[in-house]
Amino acid sequence: MLIESEILKMLRKSCLSFLLLACLGGSAYADWAFNFQPAVAPLADDALRIHNRFMVLVIALFVSTMAVMAYSLFYHRKDKGFKPAIFTGPTTPTLWVLSALPFIGLVFVDYVWVGVPAYYAAVTMENTQEGADLVLRVTASQWKWQYEYPAQGIKFVSSLSTPLTQIYQGAAKGDNYLLEVDNPLVLPVNKKIRILLLSSDVMHAWSVPAFGVKRAAVPGFLRETWVKIEKEGTYRGQCAQICGTNHAFMPIVVEAVSVERFAAWVAKKKAEQEALTTSAEKVWTKDELLQHGQGIYEKICISCHLPGGVGIPGVFPALADSKIVNSPYQDASGRLIKDGHLDRVLNGKQGTAMQAFKNTLSDVDIAAVVTYERNSFGNKTGDVLQPVLVRKLR
């Protein structure tokens, strides 16, 4: 019996020290955050302020309750010879008043201490109906964001740029692992930006903690929120609504810049878009398309259709030997064949994980990847799809 209890004691100690070690030992990254990310926008300021107000009192409540409990656990013990009382409720008017006090305090905390500032914060949060300097349309789809500046005529898609080797093959991870995108959103500081949210498939949520913004994108419904960034910098967020297989790989990166730099960026982005249009107009060679298409395939399509286009039977169709891939994509008069290869890539398939890539990829990208798929994995259609045609059919 004695030995047993010794062993138990040792076991307990080693378990606890193991835990302690896990907590403190070998901190490779040293990011022991225990509060919100620094706030750079009014909504985040409000949230942080209210959270801190609340948290202080919540911790005080916790500590005081625990203190009462601890006192009781220490003194009101049988082994200290304490004689148990028999009361079953407050016995005197004074005790009644005293025992009501915590609840009055609680009501005060809920409805006044927090309830009042929370009211103003909630009202501010919904104040989208006036004073916007810039409108941004965000369309969510599995698993990327499309950003559109209607007034500036800019539209692009932003998706994860972390290499797959870092995610799946244990390659050394960069500082912004999973929080980096190919086309970051660029926004001017100190301007009220109205954000209109749509979804083209399932529900998503656009969330940037430093802005205090988190809002669902509901399919078929328009949602909106707003942000006014107070400080230049790069801010990162993620999709905040489980939206399928790659929910973890749908980051948001916002570069907040001065108004002048924003204007310069707008000009540059427009020039880029025009260059893309020009490059779509030129006639590409088959090799150029194949090479570019392989890059696109390995960046996007590979996560479901897998290397070699083998797919997962019953889940993600194989592209190798696929009927759709090996059938024509346009009819004799040059129209898109519904449910053909190009239609699938451009418009997706309803009710599946196959998305409409026309919102995501440029004419060149789509022409290249379709050409690549039609001439790889044992598919030998010999087709060369020109970007000009994609533009016509998208």
Binding site: Q129, P150, L196, P219, G220, F221
Partner: protein
């Protein structure tokens, strides 16, 4: 039940079964109830589906409202779809016409249903559509393109602190069979 229960417990069981059925009916009733609530208050931003032109509305020329348009096609609809005008500034009560552009680049006739949504949601009740392509399914022939009209006015009853509203259409594919 092989136990003999007291009669009062049999009555109790009947009551409990009724309670469960009542709760089930209540759950089912919540669905139309929600729809009605939304129609009355515009809770979820859905605009009224019917033509609503109450004659004699006078435009409130003293103020402006900016209406922002947006549009998206849903997964599976092989169309191009976008507003032709990004935003319009109107007086409340003023009848305005705008169009959305749609094109079917495929070799098949395809149908779609546009679902309108207004934000902020509660403003939906002030957004009145006289004519809208969303009132019925739209069919585009192979290769057809079309400017689809929207005729609307914003009710002058709109609270004065609302200066900006947004209207978005999500175009859903109508599939013959799933």
């Amino acid at each position: 039940m092989h136990q003999v229960l007291a009669p009062n417990s049999n009555r109790l069981i009947v009551k409990l079964v009724a309670l469960v059925l009542g709760a089930f009916a209540f759950g089912c009733a919540l669905v139309p109830f929600y729809t009605i609530i939304c129609r009355v208050t515009g809770l979820n931003g859905k605009t009224e589906g019917v033509v609503s032109w109450a004659g004699g509305v006078t435009a409130d020329l003293s103020r402006f409202v900016t209406v922002e348009f947006a549009g998206t096609t849903m997964q599976g609809l092989s169309w191009e779809f976008r507003p032709t005008t990004e935003r319009i500034t109107v007086h409340p009560g003023e009848i305005t016409t705008t169009t959305f552009y749609a094109r079917n680049p495929t070799n098949e006739t395809l149908s779609g249903q546009a679902v309108p949504s207004v934000s902020p949601g509660w403003v939906a009740q002030y957004f009145k559509k006289i004519e809208c392509f969303c009132f019925k399914q739209q069919q585009l022939q192979a290769g057809e393109e079309r400017q689809m009209p929207l005729v609307f006015y914003v009710s002058p009853d709109l609270p004065v602190d609302v200066h900006e509203i947004a209207l978005a259409y999500s175009f859903f594919p109508i599939t013959k069979s799933r």
